[in-house]
Amino acid sequence: MTRPTLYMLALAAGMFAMAPWIINAAPNEATMGLVYKIYFFHMPSAWMFLISALVAGVASARFLFFKKATADGWAVAAAELTVLFGSFTLVTGPLWARKAWGVWWQWDPRLTSSLVLFLMFVAYLLLRRFGGPGSDKLGAGMAIFSMFNVVFVWVSVNYWRTIHPPTTVVPTLPVEMGIPLWYCVTAFTLLYIVLLRLRARLEHQRTRVDALYLAEES
């Protein structure tokens, strides 16, 4: 682990340890009371989910069109993190929805497209795991297709009438709610960067070991 990664990890760990107090200090919302506070974890993980899918798509495009060999390692790392943060999003969302909407799940465009994006990256990981030789290119093609769903997830709440709150809610939040939100966004971003770097490094080392092993054999 490089030194900057270590510092970021320590900072992220400290921020997550402090998070319960910061979130506790935020006022309750008028209609939903305490329940809305799951939003402080739901929204940052949803952001990391979407950003990670974009990172995977862009890295795959670099790998496929510009033949950047190391880009594949970044794509794999980002794809795994998409699934990880996607699961956070898809678990915290229904927990809130149960109280706010009275149901766990609704087939509305935002929820459907998020679930589909999540499934696409699960499929990507399955392909990488079981596809055998050549699955790096295949996966890259697939990640580029998946990336375009991110746009769909993002605009879906603003374009269609859905029951999911639109993205325009964020700037209108009062300061007491805004501070814990941006605090959590920072903590999640730090965690994301640390995990991405570590996982990509692992993947790069794995490819190098594979290459050395092949060179040794032949």
Partner: protein, 227 residues
Amino acid sequence: MSAFFRIVWIVVKKDITVEVRSLELLSTTIFFAITVVLMFSFGLVVEGRAVPDVAPAILWIAIAFSGTLALGRTFERERQNDTLRALLLAPADRPAIYVGKLTGILLLLALVELVLVPLVGLLFNAPIFAHPARLALALMAGSVGFCAVGTLFAAMLVRARSRDVLLPIMLYPMTVPVMIAGVRGTAALLQPEPELAIAQFWLALLATFDVVFLTLALWTFDPVMTD
């Protein structure tokens, strides 16, 4: 441009010739599609009466299943004697080869749909002749979207391990938007009183997905098929 379509036509003609000589894909896929619809009707026709409004969903599920089967088999045929490599080595535009394979599969799927639609109409009491032109348009647009992604993925998977299971795993999540638009659009057309405005909306959306998927597939086919 004419060179492009000439290659497309040559690839299509090759696939048609191979298929006409054996009829292997057409007969097995049609029979598979029929059995899928029958399985659904055993489950969903209760006391001689079909559960209402299930026809569009069953139609599209049957199309997706038989489409997957046809895609897998088409490229399995190209794999056996490594003919796909020969095809790719030909001095021809890669996108033209892709469009040729896509057209072949679409023709096959169109024939399957010619059997599927009346069968679903018969077993689930769907008024398929209320707006035949629009229904055909919806089926065509949906099949293009589904097969545009499917042809690319099946071609990519030719060299991969466990491709039989990986094709549906990759293809179904990717084509969910097409399936949703197809089912909703067809459902609007198959209502006792067809809702044409709604059908129009979903058709337009299907056309959008077609354009996006086709562009992406043409764009990525060349690099992913290069060794």
